[in-house]
Subunit: 140 residues, 2 copies
Amino acid sequence: MLSKKCKYAIHALVYLAERYQKGPIHIQEIAEKQRIPKKFLEAILLELRNAKILHSKKGKGGGYYLYRRPEDVNLIEIIRLMDGAIAMLPCVSLNYYEPCEECIDEKTCGIRNAFISVRDETLKVLKNSNLAQIVADQKK
Amino acid sequence: MLSKKCKYAIHALVYLAERYQKGPIHIQEIAEKQRIPKKFLEAILLELRNAKILHSKKGKGGGYYLYRRPEDVNLIEIIRLMDGAIAMLPCVSLNYYEPCEECIDEKTCGIRNAFISVRDETLKVLKNSNLAQIVADQKK
DNA sequence: ACTTTGTCTATTAATTAAGTAGGCAAATAT
DNA sequence: ATATTTGCCTACTTAATTAATAGACAAAGT
């Protein structure tokens, strides 16, 4: 399951994608419209900014805005940033690999194969799911 | 990520699948060989028993054994039993559906589509991954 | 009877997720 | 300049979930 943090991030990004190139949006506005605790949202947007997904402007009239085109921000990146590994086992994670503590021998482990397939299929779907796509789906 | 509980369950079941129809296996033995805290394992095996995946025998010479054939126990069932929903969002879960708290309107939500696809692909893979398959993969 | 082994309920400990507080720093307006 | 707005950053608190443990009980076998 995605964490609330991750879901908040997706909602905030979709909100900003709908307003792409319309100038900075105030945190307060996003928090209210998407019903996200403001302080929590601040931390989330900051992480997205540090990851070069968002840019910000300070002072009056400031706020956050999408740095990249909506079609260039996909769910893989957002989920990895917020929640870490996408795989169901640490030992099959591409970006957050760790050996499984409970595993006796990874080389002969028969469990990993299935989860490698799950990971690959999941990445395939999420790679094609970007902010532009989500905004489009929303309008139906 | 799968919980430790779920990973312990899979390891214990694979251990029992390897010994299918060889009589009951003592909890203690599984706990030691698979390095699982005994008391924790007890609770796990009990759940698997209540779900009709395992049977048990009490008293001397007792223990747990697979109730069904290894090919008839797949990862979907184990994961759902131990960790609940397989989907990444509650609102797209087939067996543990719940509306997303942060969602304004599920009908027009553009986020769900991707996660419905992820869920379907994941189920497709996990459905074909059963204990017999895992044991076979292990021998390579 | 006595021993072995699973059953069940209740607790505790550890970890992670979620949310909050408050001062600092940069940009803008007057 | 200086006051105001707004994001930046660190630290902390609370809540929830996961992991692990304790101990009495019940059934089966010797």
